[in-house]
C-alpha cells in the first residue's frame, strides 16, 4: 500500500485524500448510529441525498444553506491562519445581523444598490468591533480568545434578546404580539438569482468572498503579517511586525466575515430578526474551516457539504421509518472533524508514510495556552 502512495504529492494527500476519506468515515460512523436505532442506513442516506440534491428545488436550497457556512468558515479559517481560534462566530453572526437589520429596516426609499451595501457595512463594522474586543484583550492582556469568544457568544445572545424583545428598541410595535424586529425595507432584500427558488444574491457574494479572502491572506501585506504571526509570533515581533495590531486586525476581520454571514442570512432569507437562539453555527463554522484545512478555496466544497447535510437532513427525518433524527448529521460532522484533526488514524488505514501527512496545527502560536 505504501508504494501505491509513494508518487502521490503530499498536497494531494493532505488537501484532498484525507478530507475525502474523513467524510466517508464520518458517514460510516453515523451509519453505525442509524443501525443502532433499528433503521436502514442506506435508505437514510438515500433520502438525505434526495433531500439535498434531487428533489424539486433541493439543489438550490443546498446552495442557500451553504451561504452562511461559506462566510463563517472563511472567518474561522482566517483566524486559524493568524493562530487565533475564533469560537465566537455565532455571537458575531448575531451582532452583525442586529446591526445590519437595524439599518435595513430604518432606511426607506433608497435604491437597492445603496441600501444593501449600507446594511452590509453596518454588519461588517459591528462584527469587526465585537470580535475586535477579543482580539484587543488577547493583544493587551493575553486573555485567551477561546474563553473570551465563548463568553462573548452568550453576551451577544443576551444583547440580541434584549434589543429584539424590548418595546421602543428593536421590537416591532406592529407585529401583533410577535417578538421580532420590523421587516427590512423592500429595497434591502437580496434579490433572487434563480427564479422559483430562494437562492439569493448572497450566494454570489459568498462565491466572491472566497477569492477575496484568499487574496487578502496570500497576496497582501496584511495577509503576510497575519500568516507570519500565526506561524511564529516571536519571530514576527523580532522582524518588526506589530503582533498586537495584527491580532486585533485578524480577529476583527474574522468577526466581520461571521457578521456578514448573519446579515446575508437576514437580507436573503429571514427579512427580520427574532430573539436569538443558539443555532450551533459557531461549531459548524469550526468544522467547515477544519475540513477546508483553513484554505479559502477549500471552504467552497466544505460549505457545500455542510449545506447539503443540513438541507437533506429534514427530508431524511420525514421519510425514514423508524424516524432517523436530523441530528444524525451532527454525528457525521463530529466524526469528520475528528478524522481531519487526527490524520494519524487515516494514515494508518491507508498505510501512508509519516512524512506524507501534515499535522494539523491550529493554535500552535508560541507560548499560547488557552486561558493564559
Amino acid at each position: 500500500m505504501s508504494r501505491l502512495w509513494a508518487h502521490v504529492p503530499a498536497w494531494v494527500i493532505n488537501a484532498l485524500i484525507i478530507p475525502v476519506v474523513s467524510v466517508v468515515l464520518g458517514f460510516l460512523v453515523a451509519a453505525i448510529a442509524v443501525v443502532a436505532t433499528g433503521a436502514d442506513p442506506t435508505l437514510a442516506y438515500l433520502y438525505l441525498f434526495q433531500g439535498a440534491f434531487t428533489n424539486t428545488n433541493a439543489f438550490a436550497e443546498t446552495l442557500v444553506s451553504s451561504v452562511p457556512y461559506m462566510f463563517l468558515g472563511l472567518g474561522v479559517a482566517l483566524g486559524f491562519r493568524a493562530g487565533l481560534f475564533n469560537i465566537g462566530a455565532e455571537g458575531q453572526f448575531y451582532i452583525g445581523a442586529l446591526a445590519g437589520v437595524f439599518v435595513a429596516y430604518s432606511v426607506h426609499g433608497l435604491p437597492a444598490i445603496v441600501e444593501v451595501p449600507l446594511a452590509l457595512l453596518a454588519a461588517i463594522a459591528a462584527g469587526f468591533l465585537y470580535a475586535g474586543i477579543a482580539g484587543f484583550l488577547k493583544a493587551q492582556t493575553g486573555a485567551h480568545e477561546v474563553i473570551t469568544t465563548i463568553m462573548l457568544n452568550y453576551v451577544a445572545f443576551l444583547i440580541a434578546n434584549y434589543l429584539v424583545t424590548t418595546p421602543g428598541l428593536m421590537l416591532d410595535p406592529h407585529a401583533h404580539g410577535l417578538i421580532r424586529t420590523p421587516y427590512i425595507d423592500a429595497n434591502a432584500v437580496l434579490p433572487i438569482i434563480f427564479p422559483g427558488s430562494r437562492l439569493h444574491l448572497g450566494f454570489l457574494l459568498a462565491l466572491l468572498a472566497i477569492p477575496a479572502v484568499w487574496f487578502l491572506i496570500n497576496r497582501t501585506t496584511v495577509g503576510f503579517r497575519l500568516r507570519a504571526v500565526g506561524y511564529n509570533a516571536g519571530a514576527s515581533k523580532a522582524a518588526g511586525i506589530s503582533v498586537a495590531r495584527t491580532t486585533v486586525l485578524a480577529m476583527g476581520i474574522s468577526g466581520a466575515l461571521a457578521a456578514t454571514a448573519g446579515i446575508v442570512q437576514m437580507l436573503g432569507i429571514q427579512h427580520d430578526m427574532t430573539a436569538a437562539v443558539a443555532s450551533g453555527y459557531g461549531f459548524d463554522a469550526i468544522a467547515v474551516a477544519l475540513l477546508a484545512r483553513s484554505n479559502p478555496w477549500g471552504i467552497l466544497p466544505a460549505a457545500l457539504l455542510f449545506g447539503a447535510l443540513h438541507n437533506g437532513a429534514s427530508f431524511m427525518q420525514l421519510q425514514t421509518t423508524p424516524q432517523v433524527s436530523s441530528d444524525l448529521i451532527s454525528i457525521v460532522q463530529a466524526s469528520v472533524i475528528a478524522f481531519v484533526a487526527a490524520p494519524e488514524i487515516i494514515r494508518w488505514l491507508l498505510r501512508l508514510r509519516r512524512h506524507q501527512v501534515a499535522a494539523v496545527a491550529i493554535t500552535q502560536r508560541e507560548g499560547a495556552a488557552p486561558h493564559a
Partner: protein
C-alpha cells in the same frame, strides 16, 4: 429608588431561605461541571467539552432510569456515560495530539447528535410514565435549623453529592500524591516525566474523572430537576461551568463560589422582575460571562491557568 427600598423592606427570613436554597440547587450542575474542568485542566487538558458531557450524562441517566425503573442506576449510568464520552476527548487530545479545543468541539457536536438521534427513536414517542425525580432528603435535626436547614439540609442527592465533591476534589488536588502529580503534569509535564510520573496516564485518568463529574452534573437536569429528558436541555450551562472554573481560578472552592455567585444573580434577576424593578434580566444574565472576561483579562486580579494547560505533551 423607591422600588429598591420596597424590595429591601419586604424581605422576610423565609425569602432568604428560598433564595439561598434556589441558588444552591441551580448551582449544582454548574459546580459539578466546573469541578470536572478543575480535574482536567489541572492536569493540562483544556475541557470545553463539559457541555456535551453533561448532555450525554443527562440523556444516559434518564434512559437507564426509565428502562430499569431505578433512579440510582440512572445516576450511575450518567456518571459512566460522562466518563465514556470524556474518554474520547482524552484519546483525541492526549494520544492523537489533536488540538484540545478541536477535540472538545468534536465532543460537543457528537453529544448533540447521539442524544438527538436516540431521543427521537426511543424516547419521543414513549408514553410511559417517566422515572420520576430524585427524592428530597430532609436531614434529621440539621434540616430543622432556620434558614441554614432549608438551604443545606433539605436537598436531593445530586446537590449533596456536589457539596461533598467540592471538598473531595479540593483534598485530592491539594493534599494527595495524585493531586501533586496532576498539578505537575499541568504545570510542567517534562519535569513531571523526569520525576517518574506517567504524564499520559495522569492526564487520561483526570479527563475521564472530569467526565464522571460533568456526567453527574447532567443527571441533575434529567433526574433531579425535571424528571425528563429534552434535547439540548443543558442549554449552555456547561460553558457557564467552564466560566465558573476560570472565575474560581481552577480551585474547587473558588469554582463553587463562582457558581453560587452566577446563580444568585439569576435569582436576583427573577425576583427584581417580580417586585417591578426594571433591571432587564438580560443584563444580569450577562454577569457570569462579563465577569469571566474581566478575570481572564486580569483587570481584577488575574486568573492564571496551569502553565501547560492546553499544550499537548509528546514524550521525547
Amino acid at each position: 429608588m423607591h422600588e429598591m427600598a420596597l424590595l429591601v423592606v419586604s424581605i422576610r427570613p423565609s425569602d432568604i431561605a428560598v433564595f439561598g436554597s434556589q441558588t444552591l440547587v441551580t448551582a449544582t450542575p454548574l459546580t459539578l461541571a466546573a469541578l470536572g474542568g478543575v480535574m482536567s485542566e489541572r492536569s493540562g487538558v483544556v475541557n470545553i467539552a463539559l457541555e456535551g458531557i453533561m448532555l450525554t450524562g443527562a440523556f444516559a441517566g434518564y434512559v437507564v432510569a426509565l428502562f430499569t425503573h431505578s433512579l440510582w442506576l440512572g445516576l450511575i449510568a450518567a456518571v459512566l456515560a460522562g466518563m465514556l464520552i470524556a474518554a474520547i476527548h482524552a484519546i483525541l487530545a492526549i494520544s492523537f495530539i489533536v488540538d484540545q479545543i478541536v477535540s472538545g468541539t468534536v465532543i460537543n457536536i457528537l453529544a448533540i447528535g447521539v442524544t438527538g438521534v436516540f431521543y427521537r427513536t426511543y424516547l419521543e414517542s414513549q408514553s410511559v410514565a417517566g422515572p420520576g425525580h430524585l427524592p428530597t432528603w430532609h436531614v434529621p435535626v440539621l434540616g430543622d435549623l432556620p434558614i441554614i436547614g432549608q438551604v443545606l439540609f433539605q436537598n436531593a442527592f445530586v446537590t449533596y453529592a456536589m457539596l461533598g465533591l467540592v471538598v473531595a476534589v479540593y483534598l485530592v488536588i491539594f493534599h494527595t500524591t495524585w493531586g501533586l502529580r496532576t498539578r505537575a503534569c499541568g504545570e510542567h509535564p517534562q519535569a513531571a516525566e523526569t520525576a517518574g510520573i506517567n504524564v499520559y496516564f495522569v492526564r487520561y485518568v483526570n479527563v475521564i474523572v472530569s467526565g464522571g463529574l460533568a456526567g453527574l452534573g447532567g443527571a441533575y437536569f434529567s433526574l433531579q430537576q425535571l424528571g425528563n429528558f429534552l434535547p439540548g436541555m443543558t442549554g449552555g450551562r456547561g460553558f457557564i461551568g467552564l466560566a465558573a472554573m476560570i472565575f474560581g481560578r481552577w480551585n474547587p472552592f473558588g469554582a463553587f463560589g463562582a457558581s453560587m455567585l452566577f446563580t444568585a444573580s439569576d435569582q436576583v434577576a427573577s425576583r427584581a422582575i417580580a417586585f417591578g424593578v426594571h433591571v432587564p434580566g438580560q443584563f444580569l444574565g450577562m454577569l457570569p460571562y462579563l465577569l469571566t472576561i474581566v478575570v481572564v483579562a486580569g483587570a481584577v486580579g488575574r486568573a492564571v491557568a496551569p502553565a501547560a494547560d492546553g499544550k499537548p505533551y509528546r514524550k521525547s
